[in-house]
Amino acid sequence: MTGRELYAGLHLLDRQLIDRDGRLCGNVDDLELTSTPDGTVYVSAVISGPGALWYRLGRHRIGGWLRWRVAAAMGTEKPDPVRIPIGKVSEIASALTITVDQPDLASSAAERWVRDHIIGHIPGSRHDADQ
């Protein structure tokens, strides 16, 4: 057996995600598995964001709905912002470092929605906090 050995539950699930600028951007909620024609099954993506944890906890219907709804609300051209392809993971240690910017991730979608639709409408909210 060659290659580093990890356990999905012990070493990956629920670990912190850090974006390329060092910002905290969610947790590993699930892992996507893909099969090759020869039967090899491997981790092809990290799943993180609204709906993913519901799915993992067995609530597949609400998890799938939230995942679809967040993708629609983000208005992004990415087909599924909850999915982070494994090629975007640059390091696995006590946290996972990814080569993606935090604003492009579904895990920050709720925060962004509140900012744009609620906080942004409060008079005086459209300036920096230190001004």
């Binding site: 060659t2 539950g9 699930l13 892992l31 598995l33 491997y42 090629g87 975007k88």
Partner: protein, 118 residues
């Protein structure tokens, strides 16, 4: 398929004897090459049964050491889990079937050895 579809699934041996649920999945980084990551994490084996919460503490697999009393108890429970190679697993509607009898499946403690109590 997602890893959450595997973890928690029921596993029986080739004779239909219940082995428990999948507690964890062992991954080995020798899977297909992906640009930006290297060799991907291949599903190598299922960790089945064992001691529930004790497996999440990592006393056997994670090399966690103290406190010694918790270490002794958790290691004993975690070590009872069985390793089922992915190549010996057949998915079913109820979970997974190991294509070997229970007695032929290695215990986790056999792979890592007993962690000596201090």
């Amino acid at each position: 398929m997602q890893i959450s579809d595997v973890i928690g699934a029921a596993v029986v041996d080739v004779d239909g004897v219940a082995l428990g649920e999948v507690a964890d999945v062992r991954l080995v980084q020798d899977g297909p090459f992906v640009e930006g990551f290297g060799n991907t994490l291949r599903v190598d084996a299922l960790v089945v049964g064992g001691g529930g919460i004790a497996e999440r503490l990592g006393y056997v697999r994670g090399g966690v050491r103290g406190p010694w009393l918790l270490r002794v108890l958790a290691s004993a429970l975690e070590g009872r889990a069985r390793i089922v190679p992915w190549s010996d697993v057949t998915p079913t509607d109820e979970g997974f079937t190991a294509n070997r009898p229970r007695a032929e499946l290695r215990l986790l403690r056999d792979e890592y050895g007993d962690t000596p109590a201090r």
